[in-house]
Amino acid sequence: MSDTLDIIKKLAEKDVNEYITQAADEGRKILGYMCSFVPEEIIHAAGMVPYRLRAVGSKETRLGDTYYSAINCSLVRHIFDKALNSEFAFLNGVVFMNGCDHARRMYDNWRNAFQTQGLGPEFLHMFVAPHTTSETSFQRFLDELRDFSDVLEKHFNAALTTEALQNSIAIYNQRRELLRGLNEMRKLPEPPIFGAEMLAVQSAMTSIPVENAVDLLEQLTIELQNRRIDGEGKLRIVLAGGAMEEIEHIQMIESCGAIAVADNLCTGGRRADVSVEEYGDPIAAVAKRYLYEVSCPRMIDEFDKRSASLEKIMKDYRTDALITEKLMFCDLWGGENFLLKQESKRLGFPMLSLEREMYGGGEGQMRTRVQAFFEMVRNRQS
């Protein structure tokens, strides 16, 4: 029994938690953001708390649909629905990113709602990241990070010093190191934590101040030392995909006879444990980490690297199979699925693609597919 894990799981189930309220009470500003490319360190260095927007708790997309259409991704529809329902009223600002077409349009829609319906907050910023990893793109990204720092300084009257940024990098690296430690344990034949639980941990970590995250992760690491999941007869799988919040979904997969020991999910462990270099120009170090390490299908020139990194994960974590998770209408993961399928044929690992809508149900069909897939993997192994 792990107390900290239970605390963390509770955190993942809600969007507002006591840590965030406490930080707000202490006068810290909370800045919402949408995508893994948004540099948390810079927000933190400006004295604010970065907070990742999630769809958790959303039951419908009624208001979101007044802006978005039925061919838009259910994640953004849920999140924007929550926004229109004033469920993100505790935020002092939101940073959007040109991650994908659905998400980047939220910048437009939110501004429109701000103008027409007075939907807060006032600070709505578009953070732009390149789609390629060329030197030219790197320089542009560096520039964008500097501009972002300036904007934050100006708007929130904050002083974003080099020293502050170095400190922020250090504490975020601490969080990453702890996650790395947990991931090491997941490589064991008897991992201490289920994939569903790990997703909860990762989701929770982006919804609380990093200082609390480090504390919780430290306790969790200690508690998990003695926790073991019986891996006997269970397949070890890796999950890949875009945004994934539904803990129950991974529980369903694991209940079919598997443990998810690693993931490359947007809202999960995708490169979450890769640190920022702590020497040299801190902004450049941040730029390097975010541009080169958050490999997402939106980066057009990096598929080989993504594939190699997935292959390495599969080897390091000794996984039996890959399950990809895609939200309906996601062009980027649609393409990535296709490529991974080709890779799975080339490299000979079993792969299953699942498609779903955020909190959209469909468990029955999904379970049949997963169970049959696991049976198939076992048949192939024997």
């Binding site: 040109n98 501004r111 429109n112």
Partner: protein, 462 residues
């Protein structure tokens, strides 16, 4: 499934034959104009095995263009189009083959000694073959596991590759505009062809930093091409092309402005054709001549206060164009006297290129690329669409707005509310049709027509 045709370029060859036939016909524009006029009532009926060929003929004979002079211009354009297709299919050529994305205007490529292929335009080429090849290619790609949500143009590109309809590339050029679909499908094309690919990173904003960034990208592209093609860029040739482009753009831009007149002396068709020209004839003497001619014809009509279509009753502003339902335009014209006075696809809004030095050329090319249709709107914030839209509403005396939404365009669909708000403020009735530019499976022609009819009726336009 049906056995894949082993013959390479089967569809493209058929398209070329048809296009040559069209070019031949356009040598007798007056006669063609009459035949067209007589046959049009048949073509605007629903598609069945009987009139499929009629419709195909109408499409070849200039869609809704009826002025013989315009048909002559089409003939000029089709020369380059034919040359483009011949080039694509010329497997014996030892010139390197470069694939370049639809939205990239390709002046720089033309200044190299290469053959060029625009993967997405296969959908248009296949339509010229008078067949449902586009849908076949889409199905082909989907069967192979391509994501159904991808833009149908991207799916056709992949399908064409699978069906041996695409030439083998030596290099690929892509970019991150206009949408995720492109970003994703080019990774697929690169994976399947395993050749070097250069990706231009499209900036989001319209500020100096963004233009500079794109300009740097173009310099990178030139370095990349010089390295992989083992050639030097011919700057003199580029200068000549840029000069032609300036002229062409000047004509087309004026042409799109002329639609402000009531009745409109021109419509979306010449502009769309110029768009097709973008792939085959941009910066070429023929392309320029085409632009000059359609421009002169429209000016002539403007002077005489004559309308482009027979009886102009409804002036429509369009969002996107349903290429798959090309006979829709003649139908709208005949039945309702409806003419497209402005749209986001055909509208040319750009800057002249300063040809005085390589630096100025690359600097201004960067701008022209970013001001290119679709790229101009999709890459940035909603204002890029809406400000232009408001201007169109102010200037073009439109009666209604048609949002012929396209399934691939998630970013556009996400802005639907704002488009609607603008329309409401302007008191402009709006129709939102869910369709697809190349995929007939999404909605039938009958259904689209029904929606149009209801919409015109409801709003007292017809």
């Amino acid at each position: 499934m049906n056995n894949p045709s082993t013959e390479n370029f089967a569809i493209s060859r058929a398209a070329l034959r048809a296009s040559r036939f069209g070019a031949m016909l356009s040598r007798y524009p007056r006669a063609l104009g009459w035949v067209r006029r007589l046959m049009l009532p048949l073509a605007i009926q629903d598609e069945n095995s009987f009139n499929k060929h009629f419709r195909f003929f109408i499409l070849l004979a200039g869609c809704a263009m009826s002025d013989p002079k315009d048909l002559k211009a089409l003939g000029i354009l089709s020369r380059d189009l034919n040359a483009y297709m011949e080039n694509v299919m010329d497997e014996a050529s030892d010139k390197p083959m470069v694939w370049s994305e639809w939205n990239l205007s390709n002046e720089i490529l033309r200044a190299f000694d290469v053959r060029q292929y625009v993967p997405e335009t296969f959908a248009i080429v296949s339509q010229m073959a008078g067949s449902d090849a586009a849908v076949e290619m889409i199905e082909r790609a989907e069967e192979e596991g391509m994501a159904p949500e991808h833009c149908s143009a991207a799916k056709t590109a992949v399908g064409a590759l699978l069906a041996n309809e695409a030439p083998k590339p030596d290099v690929i050029i892509s970019s991150s505009h206009p949408c995720d679909s492109v970003a994703s499908s080019y990774q697929t094309l690169q994976y399947m062809t395993k050749v070097p690919m250069f990706v231009l990173d499209t900036p989001y904003w319209d500020d100096d930093k963004s233009f500079k960034h794109y300009e740097n990208n173009l310099w990178d592209l030139i370095a990349f091409l010089e390295k992989h093609l083992d050639q030097k860029l011919d700057w003199d040739k580029l200068r000549e092309i840029c000069a032609n482009v300036n002229q062409t753009n000047h004509y087309l831009q004026e042409l799109s402005e002329m639609s402000r007149a009531v009745p409109s002396p021109t419509s979306v068709e010449p502009l769309l054709l110029s768009w097709l020209g973008r792939m085959a004839a941009f910066g070429s003497p023929n392309g320029m001549e085409f632009a000059e001619l359609v421009h002169a014809n429209a000016r002539e009509r403007l002077r005489k206060k004559r309308s482009f279509i027979e009886k102009e009753k409804i002036r429509m502003i369009w969002y996107d164009v349903p290429l798959v339902f090309a006979p829709l335009f003649p139908w709208l014209e005949k039945k309702f006297g409806a003419v497209v006075v402005s749209d986001f696809m055909g509208r040319i809004q750009t800057v002249p290129i300063d040809t005085s030095s390589p630096e100025t050329m690359v600097r201004d090319l960067a701008k022209t690329h970013l001001y290119c249709t679709m790229v101009r709107h999709t890459r940035g914030p909603a204002e890029f669409y809406l400000e232009e839209f408001k201007k169109i509403i102010d200037e073009y005396s439109g009666d209604c707005f048609i949002f012929m939404g396209h399934q691939g365009c998630k970013g556009g669909w996400a802005l639907r509310k704002m488009f609607r708000d603008v329309c409401r403020e302007a008191g402009l009735p709006s129709l939102f049709v869910s369709s697809d530019i190349f995929d007939k499976r999404h909605v039938t022609e009958e259904e689209v027509k029904r929606q149009f009819e209801d919409f015109f009726r409801s709003n007292g336009l017809a």
